[in-house]
Amino acid sequence: MIALIGLVIGVTLGLVLQPDVPLWAEPYLPIAVVAALDAMFGGIRARLEGIFDEKVFVVSFLSNTVIAALIVFLGDKLGVGSQLSTGVVVVLGIRIFSNAAGIRRRLFGA
């Protein structure tokens, strides 16, 4: 519930403040957002399966975003930034789908 309220407040703040993404964060923010989405879906799934742990959620959320951004940063330095960010997005996309499947199974039993 608090997470949902936080999400709504965040979206509202974003719409009201109309922030500019700083230039240095531009390549990393999309990847970090996707990683955070993955962590969020994972959290919902864990909650539905009854194994939710706030500490795990917070740590996985932070580490996911940081690692995703770090991978892209490293890829940029190595000259394979675009390929690596594609790879990260693919992996995270697969994880989001499997998490969504878990949530669906819990909610609808199918």
């Binding site: 519930m1 957002v33 399966e49 909610l107």
Partner: protein, 247 residues
């Protein structure tokens, strides 16, 4: 639909099962029940940041799509493309300005006449009303088993045109914009005239491009060979197309 049973292979944990692993609507209601604790608050804060970041990213993505997020090598590619194009356009501009200056200079209309002749020659080549010669290829399709149909020859003509052939002659028929091939009892007709095998296509254009286009796997040459034809392609520095169409 088997209903709310625990999945096979997974033993429900004793004691927690009843309230911790609900199903369906009850699960959603349980999700939304507020529980205040430090971890929940931090989670809420993280979700706030996430929502904020999503909106910020979407906004920045909508504002400038192409260049702001492009990487350095992509930008270099775009720049060099633009450079080449502007160079080409500048060349065109120079030519046109030359023509304009010459047209203005001569009062007798000599230059205008020359331009008009040049254009007439170009259009004549395209329409097939004047003979032509230039680098190109000769495509010979021998047909000992009489397996080549009109559609194969049409394919050959289209393939040559796609590969940049400007002028094409089939045996003694000059191909024009309204050329057609027709299956007949005793062979193939082109523009009403009977073609006698072997079919010789003389095409003026870039020999290398045309040869490559004809030879692609599964392309024209393979198709013709499958139909029992003997195909040979000869690039020539000078191909003479002497058949003309009546205007």
């Amino acid at each position: 639909m088997t209903g709310p049973e625990p999945r096979p292979g997974r033993e429900p944990r004793p004691g927690r099962d009843a309230e911790a692993r609900p199903e369906g609507l009850r699960a959603v209601a349980d999700l939304l029940r507020p529980r205040v604790s430090m971890g929940q608050l931090i989670g809420g804060l993280l979700c706030l940041v996430l929502g904020f970041a999503v909106v910020a990213q979407i906004r920045s993505n909508e504002r400038d799509t192409t260049f702001a997020t492009a990487r350095q090598d992509e930008l270099v590619g775009v720049l060099s493309d633009l450079g080449q194009r502007s160079e080409r356009l500048r060349g065109d501009l120079r030519d046109l300005e030359d023509t304009k200056a010459r047209l203005e200079r001569d009062a007798q209309g000599g230059t205008a006449l020359e331009e008009a002749r040049k254009r007439a020659a170009t259009y004549g080549l395209l329409a097939g009303t004047v003979p032509a010669e230039g680098p190109g290829i000769e495509l010979t399709v021998g047909d000992p088993r009489r397996g080549v149909r009109a559609v194969n020859l049409l394919d050959a003509l289209e393939e040559l045109r796609d590969a940049g052939a400007e002028v094409v002659q089939v045996n003694d028929v000059r191909a024009g914009v309204d050329s057609y091939f027709l299956d007949d009892r005793d062979g193939v007709r082109a523009d009403g005239r009977a073609l006698v095998p072997p079919y010789r296509f003389r095409a003026i254009g870039d020999p290398h491009t045309m040869t490559t286009a004809l030879n692609i796997p599964g392309g024209l040459v393979r198709t013709l060979q499958a139909a029992g034809a003997e195909v040979s392609i000869t690039p020539r520095a000078k191909v003479v197309v002497d058949a003309v169409r009546s205007p």
